[in-house]
């Protein structure tokens, strides 16, 4: 559905993206992550036909066609990072215009509007809209054509909790409907919640392409377990440290870092030695931490 084949983009002397190979299949939601200036937006814009590849090609649809062709863009919807519309138009007029261009009937447009929860403000001029409302209108416009390819550049940046909830539903439905969704985000929570796969760009190079299952495993390995244990003798702690060398016991709290699979054995050992567990909290590793580790030290935007 979306296929980057050796895609590269150079602006002047600056190479924004280098030799990107990435595929997004029908029914798959892929999060394109990376620091500012890593080439995420350039890649997304290339898929939307807004940026011409310097090298390689970006194909969309089935069968794949270069997105620079107007006909190929019939199969895609794009929501830009800072979506904007003509100030003097009302939300309804914006929607009507895009509806006519896309050849969509009025009932479908009303449904798109409903999903974006903009009903109250739709008669007002766009100039009166907040950033979040603009984003919702952009989402409604992007939802109009039922396109099989959905490209979203930082779609949740300006959304309030209701808008976020509506957006999550849109993505879930898109997945269920067999759309290929590629989105960028700096919100790791959104990425973790929505994506089936994670592609990480650093300095224009794809440094990781990780399936959701694999990501879950990796995060589970980096999790920790906090146990409230009134007392713990030294030999038990030594036994625990054979399994989890980082295990720490202070003020009645035992913190054990390590993979989720190790946790039952830790609990068994504590109980077998006659200790009591009063409370237990287990959490997986955070995507933010894993992401920072993959991306490396904080860098200035290029």
């Amino acid at each position: 559905m979306i296929s980057f084949r050796g895609f590269g983009k150079t602006y002047g002397k600056q190479q924004a993206v280098r030799n990107l190979d990435l595929n997004v299949r029908a029914g798959e939601v892929v999060a394109l992550l990376g620091p500012n200036g890593s080439g995420k937006t350039t890649s997304l814009k290339a898929a939307a036909g807004l940026v011409k590849p310097t090298t390689g090609v970006v194909l969309v649809g089935n069968p794949g066609q270069p997105s620079s062709e107007p006909d190929a863009r019939r199969c895609l919807s794009f929501l830009p990072q800072r979506v904007a519309f003509q100030d003097s138009l009302s939300g309804q007029e914006v929607l009507n215009f895009h509806r006519q261009i896309r050849g969509v009937d009025a009932a479908h447009a009303a449904a798109a509007l409903g999903v974006a929860s903009l009903n109250g403000a739709v008669a007002r001029a766009v100039s009166t809209y907040s950033g979040g409302m603009l984003q919702r209108l952009g989402l409604a416009v992007a939802l109009l054509p039922d396109a099989p390819v959905f490209l979203l550049d930082e779609p949740t940046a300006a959304l309030d909790p209701d808008g976020l909830e509506a957006f999550y539903k849109v993505i879930a439905k898109s997945r269920a409907d067999g759309r290929a969704v590629l989105f960028t985000s700096h919100q790791m929570g959104d990425a973790e919640r929505l994506a089936d796969r994670f592609a990480i760009l650093v300095d224009g190079v794809l440094v990781a392409d990780i399936a959701g299952r694999e990501m879950k495993d990796r995060l589970a390995e980096r999790g920790n377990m906090r146990l409230r244990v009134p007392s713990l003798d030294a030999s038990t702690l030594a036994g625990l440290r054979v399994m989890a060398p980082d295990a720490v016991f202070t003020d009645g709290e035992l913190v054990v870092r390590g993979p989720a699979g190790m946790r039952p054995r830790v609990i068994e050992l504590i109980l077998a030695r006659g200790h009591q567990i009063v409370d237990l909290v287990a959490e997986d590793g955070r995507l933010d931490d894993l992401y920072r580790e993959m991306v490396g030290p904080q860098r200035e935007p290029r």
Partner: protein, 275 residues
């Protein structure tokens, strides 16, 4: 279909624009002022007739319409980046989008000018009758031609002007207007004084034809007033073409080229631009 949709959308946006509305009102005031004041200045009373008003209006049109078309053209065609990304990701070719938007803008500015001409025309008609109304219509036509030429130039200047580049495009539009309005004629006249008469004539002819503002002024004056108000460059052109018919044809070709070539290159630039 898409062309019509983009043209209708742009017309709606342009008619709602404060700048277009201000232009319509200011143009109406100036045109009516020209109709009312010209006669008084020349010692008469009341409002001058259509023939005299038309000759005066040529200078107003040649001064204001290129500037307004350039500035409003650049302001409208150079979209904010987020808006450009939405529009150009649609399944419509960039040339179709540009052409549709240009047609819509042209229609809006033509309506604004018709409003100004209409008010002035009513004033003249009510005071002096219909004599010479044909000249008045010719000046309105020249005004439309000026709009087309300078919107095409605006399209060329703004083809890669999204986001922060809009300011640069606006500055270039202003420079283009000053150069066309003042510098080319001055430079040609200055150069002509240094050259032998044959070469000087050729320089002046070129200045008349290659400068769209000069071509517009010469063409409109030729049609409205004959050769009476001609300057050195226009007279040189008239001699070169052996009369008004040849001069009019050459000027028409020049203005057509000044519309089509920038519009074509605007489309080409836009197609190659990363948004």
């Amino acid at each position: 279909m898409n062309l019509r949709l983009f043209a209708a959308e742009e017309l709606k946006i342009a008619l709602r624009s404060r700048w277009t509305q201000i232009f319509a009102v200011v143009f109406a005031i100036l045109a009516s002022g020209v109709a009312a004041a010209g006669y008084v200045i020349s010692g008469g009373h009341g409002v001058q007739d259509f023939a005299r008003t038309s000759a005066s209006l040529v200078h107003l049109v040649v001064l204001i319409v290129p500037l307004v078309s350039l500035m409003l053209g650049v302001l409208s065609l150079s979209l904010e980046r987020g808006a450009a990304e939405v529009v150009f990701a649609l399944p419509v070719s960039r040339r179709t989008i540009l052409l549709g938007r240009l047609l819509g803008l042209f229609a809006a500015l033509a309506l604004a000018q018709s409003f100004g001409f209409g008010l002035a025309g009513l004033l003249v008609y009510s005071q002096s009758g219909p004599e010479g109304i044909g000249d008045f219509v010719i000046v309105l036509g020249a005004s439309f031609v000026a709009t087309a030429v300078f919107l095409a130039l605006a399209a060329f200047l703004s083809a890669d002007a999204f986001g922060r580049r809009r300011t640069r495009a606006l500055a270039l539009a202003l420079v283009a207007w000053v150069v066309g309005e003042v510098f080319i004629d001055l430079a040609a006249l200055g150069l002509a004084t240094l050259l032998p008469s044959g070469a000087a004539s050729r320089v002046l002819i070129l200045a008349s034809l290659l400068n769209p503002i000069g071509a517009l002024r010469t063409g409109a004056l030729l049609l409205v007033e004959g050769t009476g108000a001609f300057g050195a460059a226009s007279l040189a052109l008239l001699r070169f073409t052996h009369g008004p018919a040849g001069a009019t044809t050459l000027i028409a070709c020049s203005l057509l080229a000044w519309t089509l070539v920038p519009a074509f290159w605007a489309g080409r630039r836009l197609e190659r631009t990363d948004i």
